[in-house]
Amino acid sequence: MSTINLEVNGVPVTVPAGTNVLDAAATAKIAIPKLCYHSDLPAWAACGICVVKVAGSPKLIRACALEATDGMKVITHDPELQEIRRTVIELILSTHPNSCLTCPRNGTCELQTLAADFGIREQRFESNVRDIPADTSTPSIVLNPEKCVGCGRCVKVCQGLQDVWALEFLDRGDGTRMAPAGDITLNESPCIKCGQCSAHCPVGAIFEKDETQTVYNGIRDESKHKVVQIAPAVRVALGEAFGMEPGSIVTGKIYAALRRLGFDTIFDTNFAADLTIMEEGSEFVERFVNGKGALPLITTCCPSWVDYMEKYYSDMIPHFSTAKSPQMMMGALVKTYFAQKIGKTADEIFLTSVMPCTSKKYEIVRDENMRSSGVQDIDVVITTRELARMIKQAGITFDSLEDEPADESLGIYTGAGTIFGATGGVMEAALRTAYHLVTGDELEHVEFESVRGLEGIKRATVDIKGTEVRVAVAHNMRNVKTILDEVKQALATGAELPYHFIEVMACRGGCISGGGQPYGGNDELRKQRMAAIYRDDVDQKIRVSHQNPAIKALYDDFLGKPLSETSHKYLHTHYTPRPIYIK
């Protein structure tokens, strides 16, 4: 890779070609203040805070949008720049409510940090905050335009990263708003509830719908047996909210904290992930080996992806795995299998999910199949961010908790279950078991490196004792189009299928970077969380789902075998086309 030599405030810096001045300055240990720029997105250059001086240019230039070139001389800080940045920040503050104390982003707000760093102590410009009602139409996220600073990240995430086009810039001038086109509600829009807008919003203008009170109410209900499950990706991110190193694995501490919060039984969604592999893996073998059902088979663990498919690709429904997501499988089992075990009825159980995801809040009410126990299988979903707040409210010093185990038997998991949290994980876990289901043998090496990592589309060919299985993994919703177009073309022309098995996750990096995870997500953080996921895999004695003893027991006691009638009743679902306006 070619390199660029430039000077930042007189300090010589060498950076790879293509680096922007913001990052080049960081190499020189200089942080240029910014508000709208996010490393996940192309520079939108809106806020005007990262302006710098470049020798030879009479105008100030935005560092985020300026590519470093050889010999460039940049001044990032001087009295004039400080003054201009300060004025711009004060202008933005004049349109933003002074309600930091009651804001969901109190303490994590990027505007608040800027105001603090610039030592702004008074509101110099007359305040005019817009009075626009919040959009609370989805079960997942809340859009509060009053707090919007117009950075455009949400729109760019929704259109650019996710290819969803639920959000758009409406109106203009100081009336500019980010909202669904045509001023319909978010729930009527193509929104897939992935919450990436909320994860990227620098302020409190978009945030997860807070359900902590529902959880408190459930916990305090004496008549209920309180059960909780935690998703794979939560364990590698929650620690960040307590100042722990990114990539810390805090599974045992979460179990302990949940017990202290008042849950009676602590289960782990990783167990249900293993179960998903049994069902989905068997489904794959059924289609691939026995020719029963459409190929390629496409995973359905991600409710945002399911929503997207139902809206944009409903013609692909026959290709969807009918297996429910791990969260919903756990929901069905807790209120049937587990309830029977402890002598309770379904409605005597209060089940909470802790998820890295805002869409999971929507998944639990998406249709009748989510009530397979007769009542709503899962009572409430909170995100990692909400759990962090509950732990803080409970006064639990999380980082110093002793590790505790989960409860038997739906709390026992294998390495295959845990890697569901990262892109490629479902595929890898499925391949580990599919190999066994097809050949009857066990793999010597369970790792499938080719489906790991942040590459937007990963393709691999796996050799199962002479049989070639072609797989593809896509994450970041926008990447799915490429894969599906290839498939559609092959299906239309009768050409050989490019893939037999496809995994799709809506969020970049998979669930580890879900819309409900602690703030600050970028590729560096994603890599740290992913590394932790794969460490957790290696740490498990058993790394293939079909060897999970609790899974075996479940089939023996309750389900019979994968794809059995009982399985279908509780663990499978169906899909409905949900046409939207065409973009």
Binding site: G48, E83, L91
Partner: protein, 595 residues
């Protein structure tokens, strides 16, 4: 001359909206009635420029200049002027000071003008390609296709010293050369016809009066930089210009001057029209490109400049209409000829749309370096109603004011900038003593605040704040601290806004603060609007001793709030008064007190 008479009817938008088309058809009808079609040709041309006198009909070879013509006058014009050879004197233009009926060449509105860009406007039928061709049209393109290399074209443009007429005055040859030097299979030529300054209509008039000059220039540009595709981005509210462009493109294609294998040279060039919805910001080149691409019209950061990464990320030359209209002449007459016109750093001519408190409002083209005084007083005929000149705003909402003491400044890019204004696209709005500078500035800010795309914070929020403060001052509620605040916000907007709209939006404020600070002080310190324009600060009453009860003021009052018996002093109902000042202007006895 094939015909004995040519009757030229102005077909610019101003005259069109005053029934020029009906006049044209009536003249044709009358010509037929008198069986004169072999001897008289009636032509509907582009704008004559002298809009204040429209609709205008010019008859050649006598060069008779008939003004404020109606369709009913057609019969008389034909039967008298054409048939009997007697001019219709009641319709002939007369200079204010003289009793003589002026021939076109004698009219002082035209005398000091020098028409390069508008060379064909008002002379040819813009809907007839042969008329353009007959005036050396497409000669330049032919030379570029067969005789000149791209490097020759660039050199010629460099010699000419032509700079962009869209505002910033960037040397055109450099823009073309940057784009030419880029390696790419696909390049584009874009014509910026999104003229949006309030009161400016030179680009529209060029497109209406001489569309082929722009098409020819675009093809020349395409050949020079290596592009086969051009776009004209024009606002949908210019239907006449769009219609004439469409017709011109069709005719040029039919004549083999556009499309595939132009004149057998092997060079292909096609032009597509894209309509804008009328957002001012889409005149900013990167927002314009975004709009052509189908995106919301919001500016993009520069660099990269369009010459490197423009339309759909490909190298793109984007020039405004007036710039392009200069190109064919430069290449037929030579860069050296062009460079003789104008000043050292600003070559050629500039078209201005002269409006506001000016006798001869219209479109004028003068050599760069012409003093403002000539434009306003000789060509423009000065301020009407005997009022005193106060200032002239150049550059529209992005510009600033120029005061009486600077009237002798030669107009070019550098001088205007020194005075705190800009050339802009050529809007020129004249103000007289009855204009309040705070009021005028507020108008401009209202415009830029309304037209801000909302993308970047300095412009989106800063513009609104400036406007709010101005409003406060106009109500007499401002403080001297507000002045400092406006300066500070203005500086932040100039320096940190993403595009030209935000960077220049504070200019009217900073400029009026420079030249008319006393007027701000009067509003702030004394609560007085010296011009009597700011409604909250002005109060009209009738001086009983002076009022003779003629009732003129009562008749003029649009809200009927003045009452009184005939020959008795009248009275203003203050609860209904909207402070328009009509009574003050109407009263011949100074009996209306404005305080």
């Amino acid at each position: 001359m094939a015909y004995q008479h040519y009757i030229l009817v102005c077909g610019g938008t101003g005259c069109e909206s005053n029934k020029a088309d009906a006049i044209y058809r009536a003249l044709q009808r009358e010509t037929e009635t008198h069986d004169l079609t072999h001897a008289v040709q009636v032509v509907k041309t582009g704008c004559f420029g002298f809009c204040a006198q429209g609709p205008i009909v010019k008859i050649l070879p006598e060069e008779s200049f008939y003004v404020e013509v109606t369709p009913e006058d057609a019969a008389e014009l034909i039967s008298e002027h054409i048939v009997k050879g007697r001019p219709v004197t009641r319709l002939l233009y007369k200079e204010e000071q003289s009793k003589e009926h002026a021939r076109v060449d004698d009219i002082s509105f035209y005398q000091k003008q020098f028409r390069v860009v508008l060379r064909n406007c008002g002379f040819i039928d813009p809907e007839e390609i042969s008329e353009y061709i007959s005036r050396e049209g497409y000669v330049a393109l032919e030379r570029v296709l067969f005789d000149l290399s791209p490097q020759d074209v660039i050199s010629e443009l460099k010699t000419s010293g032509l700079r962009g007429r869209g505002g910033a005055g960037f040397p055109t040859w450099m823009k073309w050369n940057f784009t030419r030097e880029q390696t790419s299979d696909q390049k584009y030529v874009v014509c910026n016809a999104d003229e949006g300054d309030p009161g400016a209509y030179m680009d529209r008039s060029i497109l209406e009066g001489d569309p082929h000059s722009v098409l020819e220039a675009m093809a020349i540009c395409g050949r020079t930089i290596g592009a086969n595709k051009g776009f004209i981005y024009i606002r949908a509210e210019y239907p006449l210009a769009i219609g004439r462009l469409e017709r011109a493109i069709a005719q040029a294609t039919e004549f083999g001057l556009l499309g595939k294998d132009i004149l057998g040279s092997g060079f292909d060039f096609e032009i597509e029209i894209r309509l804008g919805a009328g957002a001012f910001v889409c005149g900013e080149e990167t927002a314009l490109l975004a709009s052509i691409e189908g995106e919301r019209g919001m500016p993009r950061p520069r660099p990269p400049f369009p010459s490197v990464k423009g339309l759909w990320g490909e190298p793109t030359v984007i020039n405004n209409v007036e710039t392009l209209a200069n190109i064919p002449v430069i290449l037929t007459r030579g860069g050296e000829w062009f460079a003789k016109i104008g000043t050292e750093k600003s070559k050629g001519t500039k078209v201005f749309a002269l409006t506001g408190k000016i006798a001869n409002s219209g479109l004028v083209e003068v050599p760069m370096g012409t003093p403002l005084r000539d434009i306003i007083f000789n060509i423009g005929g000065g301020i009407p109603d005997g009022k005193a000149f106060k200032a002239v705003q150049t550059g529209g909402p992005s510009g600033g004011v120029i005061t009486a003491e600077h009237l002798d400044t030669p107009i070019d890019y550098e001088h205007l900038q020194e005075l705190g204004s800009i050339m802009g696209s050529g809007g020129m709005i004249v103000m007289d003593e009855s204009d309040c500078m705070i009021d005028v500035t507020k108008f401009y800010l209202e415009f830029t605040v309304e037209e801000s795309c909302g993308k970047c914070a300095p412009c989106r929020v800063g513009g609104r704040k400036l406007h709010d403060i101005l409003t406060k001052i106009s109500k007499g509620q401002g403080t001297q601290e507000d002045i400092d605040t406006m300066r500070q916000i203005g500086t932040a907007m100039q320096r940190a806004s993403l595009c030209g709209l935000g960077q220049t939006a504070p200019n009217p404020i900073l400029s009026t603060l420079r030249y008319f600070k006393a007027e701000y002080d009067a509003h702030i310190d004394q609560g007085v609007c010296p011009a009597g324009k700011c409604k909250e600060l002005v109060h009209f009453s009738i001086i009983t001793d002076k009022c003779i009860g003629c009732g003129l003021c009562a008749r003029r009052c649009p809200v009927l709030c003045i009452s009184g018996e005939r020959r008795q002093p009248h009275e203003i109902d203050q609860s209904k008064c909207i402070k328009c000042g009509e009574c003050f202007t109407a009263c011949k006895f100074d009996a209306v007190l404005r305080a």
